[in-house]
C-alpha cells in the first residue's frame, strides 16, 4: 500500500433485486483512488447513490461486487478506523456532550487511563468550539452545536478515514459555513483522508482537493473527477475571489444540469434493457421446458 493509493475503490457495485427477481445495480463499476490525507467531495443528484457509496465505505452496507481497500485492508464491516458523520448527529439524549464523545473513546482506547481518555474528549470538544458546553445535554443545544458534537465524536476516534454524509444538510447557511471551517481546520491539522457527500457545488469545491461527480442512477458511476488546485489552509474569501473559482463552479453545474436533462431517457433506457433481459430469460425457460422429457 502506498500513500498515493491509501483508499482504493475498484469496480464497486451495489445491486438490489427488483420485483421480477432481477438485480438492479444502484451503483455500478465505481472507481476512485484517494491519496492519504486527501479530501474528496462526491457530488450528484439526490438519489444517485452517493450515500450508498459512503455506507459501503463505512462497512455499514455490504457490497455486491468490486473491492474496497483502506490502508491496505479490505473493508469487511464497520470499524472505528472509518468514522462517519451523518446529516443527523444521532446523539444519545440521556448523555451529556462529554459522555457522548467518551462513549466511542472508551471503545478505541481501552488501555488508556481515565485521565487520558478525558483529555482526548476535552481536546476534541474544545477544537469544535464546545469547551464550555461539555456538561450540556443534546436538548439544551442547537442543531449546529449538536452537529459539532457529532464531529468531535468522530474525530476523537482518530480514524484513518472520515466519512461525512451531507453533514450540514439540516443547518442554516451561516452555521453551515461555520462548521465547514471547523472541519477544514481539523483536517488541516489531523490530515485525515476524507470523503464528503454533498449536493452543494460551493461546499464541494471549498472543502475538497478533488470533486468526484456521479452520474445518475440506476447504474450510477463516476462521471468525471475535477482537481481543485486551491492551496490549504483555505480562506473562504480568497477561494471565492480566485479567478478560476467560477470556472470550476460552472463545470460542476453544467455536469449536474446535463444529468438532470437526460434523467428520464437514462431511466427509460435502463428499464428497456431490463425488460429485454426478462424476455430473453422467459424464452430461454420456455425452450428448456420444450426440450425436457415429460415426467411419468
Amino acid at each position: 500500500m502506498s500513500d498515493n493509493r491509501y483508499v482504493e475503490i475498484a469496480n464497486l457495485t451495489k445491486a438490489y433485486p427488483n420485483p421480477f427477481g432481477q438485480d438492479v445495480a444502484v451503483v455500478k463499476d465505481f472507481n476512485l483512488i484517494l491519496r492519504k490525507g486527501e479530501v474528496v467531495s462526491v457530488i450528484g443528484h439526490s438519489g444517485c447513490g452517493k450515500s450508498t457509496v459512503l455506507t459501503m465505505l463505512a462497512g455499514l452496507n455490504p457490497i455486491s461486487s468490486g473491492s474496497l481497500v483502506v490502508d491496505g485492508r479490505e473493508v469487511a464491516g464497520p470499524g472505528p478506523d472509518r468514522a462517519v458523520v451523518f446529516q443527523a448527529p444521532c446523539l444519545l439524549p440521556w448523555m451529556t456532550t462529554f459522555e457522548n464523545v467518551m462513549l466511542g473513546v472508551k471503545q478505541v482506547y481501552p488501555h488508556g487511563t481515565p485521565a487520558e481518555r478525558r483529555q482526548i474528549c476535552e481536546y476534541y470538544l474544545s477544537i469544535v468550539g464546545l469547551a464550555d458546553s461539555m456538561r450540556k445535554y443534546p436538548r439544551e443545544m442547537s442543531g449546529g452545536m449538536q452537529q459539532r458534537v457529532g464531529i468531535a465524536r468522530a474525530i476523537a476516534l482518530r480514524p484513518r478515514m472520515l466519512l461525512l454524509d451531507e453533514p450540514f444538510g439540516r443547518l442554516d447557511s451561516l452555521t453551515r459555513m461555520d462548521l465547514q471551517d471547523v472541519i477544514l481546520e481539523i483536517l488541516d491539522r489531523e490530515k485525515i483522508t476524507t470523503v464528503v457527500i454533498t449536493h452543494d457545488v460551493d461546499e464541494a469545491i471549498y472543502m475538497a482537493d478533488r470533486v468526484c461527480m456521479m452520474t445518475n442512477g440506476p447504474e450510477a458511476s463516476v462521471g468525471q473527477v475535477l482537481e481543485i488546485p486551491f492551496e490549504r489552509p483555505r480562506i473562504r474569501a480568497d477561494v471565492l475571489d480566485h479567478p478560476n473559482y467560477y470556472d470550476f463552479r460552472a463545470c460542476l453545474l453544467s455536469f449536474l444540469e446535463k444529468q438532470e436533462h437526460n434523467k428520464s431517457s437514462h431511466v427509460e433506457a435502463f428499464e428497456e434493457r431490463q425488460r429485454q433481459e426478462r424476455e430473453l430469460q422467459t424464452s430461454a425457460s420456455d425452450r428448456q421446458l420444450e426440450t425436457e422429457p415429460a415426467s411419468v
Partner: protein, 315 residues
C-alpha cells in the same frame, strides 16, 4: 441497429475540415526506419513517396514510434510548408498543429499516420494513465476553446468514466456524437465561442488488451474532422490455417446514422486491411471512391492481435 445503405454513397466534399493534411509512414523493409510512403492535402490530392525516412525517436513520426503514443506538434515546420508549396501540394487551409498516431498490432509496428490540422475550431488530446490509474491529459492542442482547455487540465477520468475512460475500459475506439446535449460529455460548459459536437476516442498501442494511451479528436458540426468520418466496428475469425480475417459488423458515421452494409470501396479497403494490416492512404485513382471524393485514409486499430476498428476518413 438498423440495416441501411452506407452513407458513404452520398459523399459531400468539404474543404473546411479540421484535418487538412495527411502523411502515411510505414516501416522500411529491414524495419530500421519509417518511410513516408504517401501524403495528401485537402484540395491537392495524394502524392506518392517523397524519399523522407526517419529512425525511431527522430522527427514527429519517429517520436510517436519510439514513445508508442500519439505525439502532438503545435507548430508547422517551415521546411514542410516550403516543400508542399514547391510541389503545389499545400492544403487549402492553414495548418496549426500536427498529430502523429502510431498503429500497433500487439508489439508489432504497423505504421504511423500524421494528421495536419487547420487553425479552425477543434481539439486533439492525448490521455494517459497517472499514478492512481486515472486518465489525465498529457498533451493537447485546442483551437478556440479556452474554457474547455482550462477545465481539461483539472479533469481526470477513472476507468469507464467519460469517453477516454470508456476507450480505456473497452480497449476499442468509440465515437460520441451530439455532445452539446449528451450527459456523457461533461467538460464543456458553454463559455467557449463554439461547441464541440463529436468526439472520436482511439486506443493507442494496446498492451494486454488495454490501451497505453487514448487519443481524442474533437470537432464541431460546422468544421468536421473530414468530409466523411466513419468508425467501423469489426470482429475477427480464424481460418483453418490460423490466419485472422476481419468482418465489419457496423459502420458509425459522424453526423450520420449507423449502417451495416458496405459500399464497394469500403469492401476494397477491408480486403486490403485484412491482407496487410497497415494504414492506407488511397486516392481516387487507386480506389473507386464516391463521386467528389479525392482521397481516403484508413487506420486499422487492433486489440491484442485482432482488428477491432477501422477509422476511415474521406476528403
Amino acid at each position: 441497429m438498423s440495416s441501411t445503405e452506407s452513407s458513404a454513397e452520398t459523399f459531400q466534399p468539404t474543404v473546411g475540415s479540421l484535418v487538412q493534411y495527411v502523411e502515411l509512414w510505414l516501416l522500411s523493409e529491414d524495419e530500421s526506419s519509417l518511410e513516408c510512403r504517401a501524403s495528401a492535402s485537402v484540395g491537392a490530392g495524394v502524392r506518392g513517396a517523397d524519399g523522407r525516412s526517419v529512425s525511431s525517436g527522430e522527427g514527429l513520426a519517429g517520436a510517436a514510434w519510439k514513445q508508442k503514443t500519439a505525439t502532438i506538434l503545435q507548430e508547422t515546420p517551415s521546411d514542410l510548408m516550403a516543400s508542399l508549396n514547391a510541389a503545389a501540394a499545400a492544403p487549402a487551409g492553414d495548418l496549426s498543429a500536427f498529430v502523429a498516431i502510431p498503429l500497433f498490432c500487439q508489439q508489432e509496428m504497423r505504421g504511423v499516420v500524421v494528421l495536419g490540422l487547420s487553425d479552425a475550431f477543434g481539439a486533439i488530446e492525448v490521455w494517459s494513465r497517472d499514478d492512481r490509474d486515472e486518465l489525465a491529459v498529457t498533451s493537447g492542442h485546442y483551437q478556440g476553446l479556452p474554457s474547455f482547455e482550462f477545465i481539461t487540465r483539472y479533469t481526470r477520468f477513472p476507468k469507464g468514466a467519460g469517453l477516454p475512460g470508456m476507450v480505456w475500459k473497452l480497449g476499442v475506439a468509440q465515437l460520441a456524437q451530439n455532445l452539446d446535449t449528451s450527459s456523457g460529455f461533461i467538460r464543456s460548459f458553454g463559455k467557449d465561442p463554439a461547441v464541440i459536437t463529436s468526439a472520436l476516442g482511439l486506443p493507442v498501442a494496446s498492451q494486454r488488451g488495454f490501451p497505453a494511451s487514448v487519443l481524442l479528436l474533437l470537432s464541431a458540426q460546422d468544421i468536421p474532422l473530414a468530409g466523411l468520418t466513419e468508425l467501423w466496428s469489426c470482429s475477427s475469425t480464424r481460418d483453418d490455417e490460423g490466419s485472422m480475417t476481419a468482418a465489419v459488423d457496423s459502420v458509425d458515421t459522424v453526423g450520420g446514422s449507423m449502417t451495416t452494409t458496405l459500399a464497394g470501396w469500403q469492401r476494397e479497403i477491408l480486403s486490403r486491411v485484412n491482407s496487410h494490416g497497415q494504414p492506407l492512404l488511397l486516392g481516387a485513382d487507386s480506389l473507386s471512391l464516391p463521386a467528389g471524393a479525392t482521397f481516403s485514409l484508413s487506420l486499422p486499430i487492433y486489440r491484442q492481435n485482432e482488428l477491432c476498428n477501422v477509422l476511415n476518413m474521406m476528403f
